[in-house]
Symmetry: C2
Subunit: 163 residues, 2 copies
């Protein structure tokens, strides 16, 4: 399904309390430019509130720097570990708040939607997705952290679905 | 265990995406004054990001109005419903962020600690806790919403443990 095309700069996040993948993509016509991608590292010796503060400041800075108007996330897979869901909820709560405070368009895609949009197959392996990303963005190397390519895959799915 | 006494105005929250109990308590010497308590209602027709935005603004306003320097929460009981933990995580993530952005002292107490501090018995019934609160704060009536008295119980536990 095509989504309403009222945004052009997408921040995508693969949230984690130790390592957060992110990417910033800009749509121009039918092109997509990769402005930045990487991983925000947080020290596990820091308290959760301190890490959420660092995460919030990091996102706010990217939003302001690139004039981001869309936030793309992957829907979480609901497993059985309540404690890890609580922690994932912390980061997602902050991301939801950020989308509200900055009037961002918030779009969520299931892992299957992301894979299917990028490779044509909803149950593609991570390696297939990575190969597609490297072909499209030659600056990405095989050594790029998986958290960063996971985030990039979601952002790109968001961009492709809005063409 | 006595906790370090470097705060005097406590905001306590009983988080929920539809109804959030809160209280604001001020310690002065060995006295505790109840400045405000109540329930923040949020419409379930609103999106989660909108509700988190409303919740964030509400807390920030109370913190600024009363010069709050401590946030008291109850530790969550980890049940089996991953989806409800994700939602609880959203609110707790925003609360952790708020404590970081405002340099608040963040203190968490288990339900058992709260009951034990207030009534002397860690497995006291909700009614026993409510009776104790009504005795201490005569403005509270039996019709006061449970979310509000739950929040007040946590705030009062925090104050009493710091004497």
């Amino acid at each position: 399904m095509k989504i309403n095309n009222n945004f052009d700069v997408i921040l995508s996040i693969d949230p984690g309390l130790v390592s957060c993948g992110f990417s910033v993509l800009k749509k121009q016509g039918e092109n997509v430019f990769l402005l930045e991608y990487g991983v925000l590292k947080m020290r596990s010796s820091q308290s959760v509130p301190d890490r959420l503060g660092q995460f919030y400041t990091f996102c706010q800075e990217k939003i302001s720097l690139y004039q981001i108007n869309c936030l793309a996330l992957e829907t979480p897979f609901l497993g059985k570990n309540a404690s890890s869901f609580l922690k994932l909820g912390y980061l997602r709560g902050v991301l939801y708040l950020i989308s509200n405070l900055n009037n961002l368009r918030l779009l969520e895609f299931s892992p299957c939607e992301v894979k299917s949009t990028l490779t044509g197959y909803g149950f593609a392996q991570k390696e297939q997705v990575a190969r597609f990303l490297m072909k499209l963005f030659p600056t990405i190397s095989a050594s790029t952290k998986l958290d960063a390519t996971d985030a990039l895959a979601v952002g790109l799915c968001c961009a492709m679905r809005s063409f």
